[in-house]
Symmetry: C2
Subunit: 323 residues, 2 copies
């Protein structure tokens, strides 16, 4: 299971490869939030999201002869790109199974990273797990799961090591840390890193309305699932339920979850544009939205938020700016 | 006159205040340019442009009793915000003289930074220099010029110190460095820093079509002025001519200037959005445009470009993304 030594080993393997993203701030954001706001900007990570951390960690941790046979991932988005880039930089093949109706740009990006993309027909009832199992067995591939995988969590935890160091440079050791939360890989990884390196900080996951499975799971003490649709505005972080590995970590270490509206997310995207000059995708802006618009739920003191990714289509972003 | 020791002193005064901006990259940009492209991202600097470096350097270099009386700047844009923020953080008054028809947002931002904004009527023939001289004499203010001022050049030069260090970390000591060039403060500051710290690098200024005063001045060997209008798409870097201090520095140290079209600038803004997740304003994207679309003029080897600022209105940026 992931612990601080596994996170530190992941950081060691990532040295010179994974980008140390900046911790940004703006007095204008502080004014909106009524407190100091520091923004860990993973949109600036390679591949445009924190997912490269976990992808690199998992691929680099494989025994060389296993890695050489190749890796496999299911994803229509950021995890696909994180794994594809990690495989490309290791010089090993990546097979990514994507829904045929995934955004054209994401398919093209994943192809451009040298991955083999296998498309399946979501609507037509093709079973992606069956396709994956067949390819895995035929080729000896290793499946890299998107969040419920110890080495992936360790990789995301390297973001937490940087938060602890960079916040300390700003004189901050006590803070609420808001994470953009899908399956809980980033949230649990950061929580484990901060438990060891910044025990004065409390991590709280943030989710969009209608997809608050983690908040409800933390409140209930058992894993709860989303009842509604699978798709939505904050596409990068819509998962049906927290993971069997990530949930117990979050349960032990995190404060209560927060839920934001899509309109708050849009305004956070505009604020990141105006004040930080950073492109945040919808799922990457939920934590900033909570910091800006849910201060009453946060108690006192500074808040540190992740902007977890920036992979958003031009047309969608232009529409958000024009609203 | 500005030299490396003045730049290093500026860096010392800026420690913990001016942000060390990241040197970003993307294999997708490398593919477009046909070479390695590293992007020094000053849009992520405080106030959204490199101008905070020069503003901080100049304000912090003043004797305390002089600084306490306050500073004065003429600007409708990024220099206004750089000086205003530097004054605010020193706790001294800033008076910024702005045209009444400057973008509302830039006036509001400058006010929000605690500056006194004095508006003048450009069209009605009011002389801003007369207004400035009157305020300076009445209040004992110190004028901070936007580029033709040694301590401002020294401040911009701190960006060059970082480029030298960060490129060396990537194993790069030989490169073409493309700068977004208005009056030449950033260009001459970076050139002085690299002369001392990375002598294998050659700086080349980049300008937009119709405002290529620096390129023509370098070619002619004497200062040339722009004949056309004062306003244009790349508003942040439109100056009538290089400065009397900056030009001799550029003449001694820089390679020939490059000129890009507005359409190339728009495409560079889209590429920065797609590939770096960074907001570049038009004037901040000219150097990236040259790297991506004028490779034939660059010789071999890696190129380092500045994205000098990101202060662009939502509507303009949305329009660029939608084109």
């Amino acid at each position: 299971m992931t612990d601080i030594s596994m996170i530190e080993a992941a950081a060691e393997r990532a040295r010179g490869i994974v980008r140390r993203t900046p911790l940004l701030s703006s007095p204008f954001l502080d004014a909106v939030a009524g407190r100091r706001v520091l923004v860990k900007c993973e949109a600036l990570q390679h591949t445009g999201s924190f997912k490269f951390r976990g992808g690199w960690s998992a691929v680099s941790a494989l025994p060389e002869e296993v890695r050489a046979r190749g890796v496999l991932a299911f994803s229509s988005g950021n995890h696909a790109q994180g794994v594809a880039r990690a495989a490309e930089r290791h010089g090993v093949p990546a097979t990514i199974i994507m829904p045929a109706d995934a955004p054209r740009l994401k398919i093209e990006n994943t192809l451009a990273m040298g991955a083999e993309v296998v498309l399946y027909d979501r609507a037509g009832g093709e079973d992606r797990n069956e396709i994956g199992a067949r390819l895995r067995d035929a080729r000896g591939l290793t499946l890299i799961k998107p969040f419920d995988e110890p080495q992936v969590i360790a990789g995301q935890g390297t973001c937490g090591l940087e938060i602890a160091e960079q916040a300390a440079e700003e004189g901050i050791t006590q803070a609420t840390v808001l994470t953009c939360c899908g399956g809980g890989g980033l949230t649990s990884g950061i929580a484990l890193a901060l438990e060891a390196r910044a025990p004065g900080m409390v991590v709280r996951p943030v989710e969009p309305e209608g997809f608050d499975d983690t908040a409800r799971s933390l409140a209930a003490g058992t894993i709860q699932r989303n009842a509604g649709p699978e798709a939505g505005f904050c596409d990068a972080i819509l998962t049906p339920a927290p993971g069997g590995i990530t949930f117990p970590i979050m349960q032990r270490l995190c404060g209560p979850g927060l839920v934001v509206t899509n309109e708050e997310v849009r305004e956070a995207m505009r604020q990141a544009f105006d004040r930080l000059k950073v492109v945040a995708e919808p799922g990457g802006a939920v934590a900033l939205a909570a910091a800006l618009f849910h201060g009453e739920a946060l108690g006192k003191g500074p808040v540190i938020v992740t902007i977890s990714g920036g992979n958003v289509d031009r047309a969608l972003f232009a529409g958000v700016l024009s609203a």
